[in-house]
């Protein structure tokens, strides 16, 4: 028996434990999406800082010039660049709206109160206002994305 401790396989899931929401609830999917979009937005912001500073100073520090402007707009002003920008809109709106839902939920405000349970049981915190707000976040993100598509591919404005 005493050697048992070393023999046990650890089985802690690590990164795959939080990245994989399969078999779990809607909030878990929102959780994974929130974290992944958080990293994606960070990557975008760093890239965006790079390209705007490139325009303002240029790699040689000579200040704004027509050539640096042309270079940067050349990167974005094409279908692929537009597609990336549309994704950014989708992800930022969802992340922001879902973030507000999480802040309010984590203050325990939109989860309902503890109550005597009845069977068939469904946890109160997972059927409260907060769940509706996930759908609201998705809807807002889709509307914003639709708008972005209109602007970037609609030909007007």
């Amino acid at each position: 028996m005493s050697s048992g401790a070393e023999g046990k396989a650890k089985n802690r899931r690590g990164l795959s434990g939080w990245l994989n929401p399969y078999h779990y609830n809607f909030e878990r999917w929102a959780y994974v999406f929130q974290r992944v979009t958080g990293v994606a937005i960070l990557a975008y912001v760093i890239g965006h800082l790079g390209d705007t500073s490139f325009f303002v100073g240029g790699p040689t520090g000579t200040g704004p010039s027509e050539s640096s402007w042309t270079f940067i707009s050349g990167l974005v002003e094409n279908s692929f660049g537009h597609l990336i920008l549309i994704l950014v809109v989708l992800v930022v709106i969802f992340h922001g709206a879902n973030g507000i839902r999480l802040i309010v939920s984590e203050l325990g405000l939109i989860l309902g109160r503890p109550s005597p349970i009845e069977y068939p049981y469904r946890p109160k915190s997972l059927r409260s206002v907060q769940r509706v707000l996930i759908w609201v976040a998705i809807a807002l993100a889709l509307v914003g994305t639709g708008w972005a598509v209109l602007i970037l591919f609609g030909g007007s404005i």
Binding site: K8, K10, N11, R12, R28, P114
Partner: protein
Amino acid sequence: MKELRLVVQKFDPFSDAAPRLVEYAVPRREGMTVLDALLYARDYVDHSIGLRFSCRQASCGSCGMKINGRPRLACYTQVDELGAEKVVAQPLDNFAIIKDLVTDLGSFFQRHREVTPRLVRDDAQEQDHPTGEYLMKPEELSRVLQFTYCIKCGLCTSSCPTVATDERFPGPQALAQAYRYTADVRDQGGAERMAELDGTHGIWRCHFAGSCSYVCPKGVDPALGIQLLKRHVMSGRPPHSKDDATKVWKPAEKQQ
């Protein structure tokens, strides 16, 4: 008779290099639980299946395992309710495997102990030599009642994405119990309990994925308890102050 395909993840850390899935054919019958199927396989097909159970009625919390990908109690899950031809039984995630479906819950119980899961009172004398009772109003009881149903099965902790990456996180079970005692009007230990948990590896590591509440077989709703703890910390208002805790109520004949 219809047959059930029962797949069990087998792994003996002493002799096996890696876990493997083994399939057994089990006669299927109405009302059969996954535990029934596993016991059939163990009794009639392969005696070496490592399996833990006791009460067979969702009371002891020892038969927790991952069934078709989701943590469940084997004795509380009917094969029919899974709606699948095949039942796959694997050990719970995030706990060390002792053998096959048996996991080591030692550190999990330790986390539970660390939140001081009992009523902490100033009147030690009264605790040792009771002269009366601590009464609760029904609404005070309903604040904590559902949290008292925890059977320490570990399903919530094995489903938690934070537990998967942070070894120092107490996990939903322990945090739900911290809420259960802190919100109990008879308790006076809330401040000490929360001082421990209001930190980087405490309640703030929970990001409300809600899986704990989703898998809990006893209606505990740990995610709700954890968010309510955060609310008490953020508002600076504990559920009740030390002085507001229930006083001892003595029967009339002892009151003079």
